[in-house]
Symmetry: D2
Subunit: 104 residues, 4 copies
Amino acid sequence: MTGKPAPACHSGPDHLCMPEDARKRAARRLSIARGHLDAIVRMLDNPDAYCVDVLRQIKAVQGALSGAGEVVLRGHLEAHVATASTRGDSVEIVEELMEALKYT
Amino acid sequence: MTGKPAPACHSGPDHLCMPEDARKRAARRLSIARGHLDAIVRMLDNPDAYCVDVLRQIKAVQGALSGAGEVVLRGHLEAHVATASTRGDSVEIVEELMEALKYT
Amino acid sequence: MTGKPAPACHSGPDHLCMPEDARKRAARRLSIARGHLDAIVRMLDNPDAYCVDVLRQIKAVQGALSGAGEVVLRGHLEAHVATASTRGDSVEIVEELMEALKYT
Amino acid sequence: MTGKPAPACHSGPDHLCMPEDARKRAARRLSIARGHLDAIVRMLDNPDAYCVDVLRQIKAVQGALSGAGEVVLRGHLEAHVATASTRGDSVEIVEELMEALKYT
């Protein structure tokens, strides 16, 4: 790589890998979302649970997942997409990202 | 209630509550999503994890949560919204649902 | 219909139709969105247009369409879904709505 | 620039600008969406319009706008983000894009 170095990115044996900071922050956020999801599953054990409360909780977890997704996406853009031209794999990296963003 | 009976809906002491079938199906789907989320958190322990793989997994869990949300929403529409006019609380029930749907 | 009357809803010859207020408000919002969309198309005639500005404008129009969609949805919930049990077509009306909400 | 050249991107006097191909394709798609939106506005002139039909049409236009947004995003990733490291503005370009993607 001749350009600017990617931010702290452990170089895998045969592939790019996540900047450590993004990896740890995403893990932290997903753990919290996991706890929240746990609480919703328990909430549904109670026959008194009300639909709209459950809907709201599900939306909250979806928001948390989006937040974690943003952390991962930002790390990817900085570490791998912004450096694609210097590596020479712009077409592949953009194609792959567009594909991954599609399934919202 | 004079119309069609709402599908099996346990009547809470002072509020509407979820049709049992929707409650059980949503719980089952959310448990699966929780397992999936667990797997992503573990995946992030590995310094070799790749951003786009993580993004794809997060999207998959979001899809599962949307699926669970649909089960809950359908149950709510059938059991509580479709019967609102007979109960006389249409305005409140619609307002509440619109509010809950907003935070996507 | 024996329950509460639906809010000002012209009764079509063989189908339910939109409450007039929702129809007019949705039309107004969609006209504004159309003007905005027009402006983006013109903006794209300029070779100096910048991708991120265009993305932001597209998002703004999407927001306006969501707003119009909310007006229509609220009118539908109040006029047609909340009264479904009295009409006796809850199953069909909920099915139809779930189907329409799916394609986001 | 030492890496792969960005796809046909007219260089604005003081800023990056859209690859011509993306600009033309996005314009074409947005014109079609504009015609579709026009049809919905006219549809709402008819007191017989049905809520769920209108909802479906709005969703269709939203889908068309998403498609146009994807064209713009892909062009931006290829022409501007993938080359950011060689230009030396990775941080700014990623920040700007994350901000623009946020308002979904």
